[in-house]
Symmetry: C2
Subunit: 382 residues, 2 copies
């Protein structure tokens, strides 16, 4: 009997809104989104799941949310706002997955209701995963509260949790229904989190947009001293580049190429080797330095350009070496990255500021050499 | 700052192959698929997960598979073929999900390797779910072994497991990489499973293809007496209609409409109420009878056409009543179906043989009336 061929496309759309003080009752942004997606005669439910750290930094937030949705005729806020611990630990705890699945079941959240996650990247990853697997995918709204999640992870299409210490071993590709970036949340970040998120902007600028890189050079001091306007511009531009990349490439990463993972193969491993004491963005800053110097030793990037990259990172306050880089641990990350990608290793390197180039192998002794240089620089900054 | 708009499409393609004795070493079908998807210089892994019932019915199967993949240079068969219990119980057991995720981890199955499921719908649903959530989606190949899975569930895009007794509460939409339908597996089905799978063909014929319905009327005796050629035609045509429906509609069911779920709202509940003693296809046969009679009582379907439907089902050996239909249990299924769909209830009914029409409400007293008729008919068959 003849073979049957199946072929179809699925269209995904969502908006990323930028709005200050999202849950002040006078702010119409969220309400307008709900109105636009309202179906006559049917009240959708909203289940909020919040990052504990955010509720501590913003003690009025829970009450603000309750007040914002009180008396709205088009949605029903589930009155039980769920607060969970944030940070990488949240992604390591299977009991949290179960707690959230139970909440979806208990509150009768269906595929047309919304699960709203408020928090840093880990909480968004965890809640996105739970929403994606419940009822074969419940609509989820992301309200990222860190630089990293507002400019990168929170606006993308991935979710995931760790499994027996393996980062994002369980997860899926599931675009959000909407993303709301509120700068108010950035004001209470600690300095490490403020800084760490900038590394994803450096990354995307280096592979895609030299002008954005040069904007960061010109604004490094403002960024380092927590100028909120500069940070809002950085987040908006980084998010825009990221969204364009997803839409124009391979959104669900069916191929082996992962161009946005510049600087990431070593970063993932460094996080794991340090039990996530080194935060993702901090690890990415080191990974960028490593792969930039590697690109230079390969003869692809000029010494002047490589130094510009390292100098920008230092001006922002990043440390570019960690003792866990020594030994074989990080080198093993290369193989784990290959396995996660599937099959062929594909690593992005640089041929110029704003221009990436993929390779399919890296030389271990040259990586060791570059790590040695990073270590020396750390002891006697250039 | 201005809102960023994201929009992209993801294309999914897969083939459904029909081939007798798939793992005889002389059969090139599976090998040709692997060759077509081979990447030079890289050996993909194949992890097989099999339904225990199938390995009992086909005691040589494990050895045949090992022999088929021995000495192939383009793939590596994971020598540990995993055998798991089949049937609805498999979808109720979280330990099985964990066992399979562990196997994927332990054997280093990456996103470009294949997880191959051989079995009935439950095993395919379970394995498809595990493949979908591991590494954010590993390629999976389905080899359905029952009528129901070869003509319906196994060729579609859904997977799922049950959660605390709630059917398919956890799951996702994840198209397979390929499907292989081998009629050899049908020869060892028990009569109930042979028959049960036919109800999905009746269903799709009733809402889409009158000629196919009439072909079944003409071939009812052959189908009832296990004519393998007739069954192969039925499966091929049913699969074709099903694939066309998915591709032309809303593959990931983002809207509320579920036209292929004709006869299913009561069927899902009946399975649950009987602890899955009533099999899915048997429950669907009853659900079809119920919704056909309901369509007739609504004045949409002629009495003659309603009788043709019931008579075909009886000729195939289906029982059209079950005591669990009495009481309020099944009626509750209407609300659960609404919740699973999300928001608005959408039920497919019939206006003619081969022509469906959606409604958004059903009258409970009329449903009770129809259940009464089904009960009477059962006592004194028309």
């Amino acid at each position: 009997m003849n073979t049957l061929h199946q072929s179809f496309s699925v269209r995904f759309t969502y908006d990323v809104y930028f709005s200050d003080r999202l849950f002040e009752t006078s702010n119409p942004t969220f309400l307008n989104f709900l109105k636009k997606n309202h179906s006559e005669g049917f009240r959708k439910k909203l289940l909020f799941i919040l990052d504990e750290g955010v509720t501590i930094g913003h003690p009025d937030l829970l009450d603000e949310i309750k007040a914002y949705f009180a008396n709205l005729s088009i949605v029903d806020l589930v009155p039980d706002l769920i607060v969970i611990p944030g940070g990488e630990g949240a992604k390591n705890d299977p009991a949290l997955v179960e707690q959230l699945v139970d909440a979806i079941d208990r509150h009768g959240i269906d595929r047309h209701s919304y699960v709203v996650a408020v928090g840093g990247g880990s909480v968004l990853d965890l809640v996105g995963y739970v929403a994606a697997i419940s009822h074969r995918g419940i609509r989820h709204i992301r309200i990222p509260t860190t630089v990293l999640s507002q400019n990168d992870s929170g606006i993308g299409v991935k979710n995931g949790v760790n499994y027996r210490g393996k980062k994002n071993f369980l997860g899926s590709f599931a675009p959000p229904t909407a993303v709301f970036n509120d700068p108010k949340f950035l004001t209470t970040l600690d300095d490490r989190d403020w800084r760490a998120g900038i590394s994803e902007a450096i990354k995307v600028a280096l592979i895609k947009d030299q002008a954005f890189f040069e904007w960061m050079e010109a604004n490094a001091e403002k960024l380092a001293t927590r100028d909120l306007n500069a940070m809002q511009y950085l987040i908006h531009r980084c998010a825009e580049l990221h969204l364009n990349h997803i839409a124009s490439g391979d959104p669900f990463e069916m191929g082996s190429s992962r161009p946005l993972d510049f600087g990431h193969w070593s970063a993932h491993k460094l996080e794991q080797l340090t039990d996530f004491e080194v935060r993702h963005g901090e690890a990415v800053a080191i990974g960028i330095a490593l792969d930039s110097l590697y690109s230079q030793r390969l003869g692809w990037l000029s010494e002047a350009d490589a130094n510009r990259i390292l100098n920008l990172e230092r001006a922002l306050g990043f440390s570019l070496f960690h003792p866990a880089l020594e030994g074989d641990g990080v080198l093993k990350g290369l193989n784990e990255f290959r396995e996660h990608l599937g099959g062929q290793l594909t690593i992005m390197l640089l041929t110029a500021l704003g221009k990436g180039q993929e390779v399919h192998e890296m030389d271990l002794s040259r990586i060791r050499e570059v790590i040695g240089i990073l270590k020396e620089n750390e002891i006697q900054p250039a």
